[in-house]
């Protein structure tokens, strides 16, 4: 075992724990239902990167938003994201969450997903190949090392403005605000 690497790992075991065991919420939105199952089965094995799908969002810390987001799905995504424990990371696939993509003039899809929940990384492709997904996840590891993957901290700090955006598109929301202190101010 390399002595330098061992020292680096022991310097920050929390970062090593965050990086090498990302549990994914098993929620395939949109078009991603065809490229997530090949990534987690035997041929393009995702478990060697530490990624394993779990059933409940309370046990997960990575959320993959694969493809376009319709209005009904956005409510489910916000609820799922708020139930995940911190630290949590989101990665969006394809060009539809960036600026609407192919459905730029549709009346039922969200054009910029960044306005409603914070996103740490984007992966290009329609749908991206399993190899592209793995390159994206290893890039997320370097971001975690440099402490630049701070979407969840931004959500906590600017929660008032995220909540105003969500209320502008949906009207009154059925669930109470997540961080009471920031909103009451």
């Amino acid at each position: 075992m390399d002595r330098n690497k061992l020292e680096k790992w022991l310097k920050s075991p929390t970062k090593m724990g965050h990086k090498y065991s990302l549990h994914v919420v098993y929620f395939c939105t949109g078009c991603g239902i065809i490229e997530i199952p090949p990534s987690i089965t035997a041929r393009w094995d995702a478990e060697r990167f530490g990624i394993i799908p779990v059933a409940s969002p309370r046990q997960a810390n990575l959320f993959l938003i694969t493809g376009y987001v319709a209005l009904k799905t956005l409510k489910a995504i916000i609820r799922t994201y708020e139930q995940m424990p911190e630290p949590k990371f989101t990665v969006a696939f394809g060009s539809c969450p960036i600026n609407g993509g192919m459905y730029w003039d549709s009346y039922n899809t969200i054009k910029h997903l960044d306005k409603y929940i914070p996103i740490d990384g984007w992966i290009a492709g329609c749908m991206p190949r399993p190899e592209a997904i793995f390159i994206g996840v290893t890039h997320l590891w370097t971001l975690i090392d440099k402490e630049m993957a701070d979407g969840y901290k931004k959500y906590r700090k600017d929660y008032k403005y995220y909540r105003e955006n969500q209320e502008q598109i949906f009207g009154k929301l059925e669930w109470p605000p997540l961080f009471q202190k920031e909103v009451k101010k």
């Binding site: 009904k72 730029w104 549709s106 009346y107 054009k111 403005y161 955006n165």
Partner: protein, 173 residues
């Protein structure tokens, strides 16, 4: 086979126009009061499969055109006859300003979700339907979305592009 169908229809109903193309598609145009009896007549002849209920918006003529597409299942489980190749399209027109029609659930039981979808996307009211609640859409629209005078690009600009990014909202404050 289709010629005898044409003769039977012409002899039972007045004011009906029938077109048969060479690849076994039969186009029938009727008045809106006759539609239920024509469909009942065709169902008794053996065309029991309602494949689709569709609607076209002819905005220049100020009318909606409802289309009912029927086909037939096999009666003998292993023999393929000419009857299964036929598709019958029954078309009728209803006025666009006050769009109402009768429901078809008593004749074909699987017409229920098609009529629910047309009510939501075009604004047509079907009398006698047990649940005309929204099927796909999440919110209310002033003009039903599939009509030709609903402008999608203007709608996207008004609703989605008006919401600012979070950092813009912060700077404005």
């Amino acid at each position: 086979m289709n010629k005898s169908l044409k003769e039977k229809l012409l002899s039972s109903f007045s004011d009906i126009q029938i077109d048969i193309t060479e690849d076994n598609k039969v186009f029938i145009n009727t008045k809106k009061d006759d539609v239920i009896s024509v469909l009942n007549f065709l169902k008794n002849l053996g065309y029991k499969h309602l494949a689709l209920i569709s609607c076209t918006d002819w905005i220049e003529e100020n009318e909606f055109e409802l289309v009912y597409i029927l086909s037939s299942y096999m009666e003998n489980d292993t023999e393929y006859r000419n009857k299964e190749k036929t598709n019958i399209l029954v078309k009728t027109r209803i006025p666009r300003e006050k769009a109402e029609f009768v429901t078809l659930i008593n004749v074909f039981a699987n017409a229920e979700p098609y009529e629910r979808e047309l009510h939501e996307l075009y604004g047509i009211y079907f009398e006698g339907h047990p649940r005309l609640t929204p099927l796909f859409l999440e919110r209310e629209y002033k003009i039903p979305p599939f009509r030709k005078d609903f402008d999608t690009k203007k709608y996207v600009k008004e609703v989605f592009d008006n919401i600012p990014f979070v950092k813009d909202r912060k700077e404005k404050k």
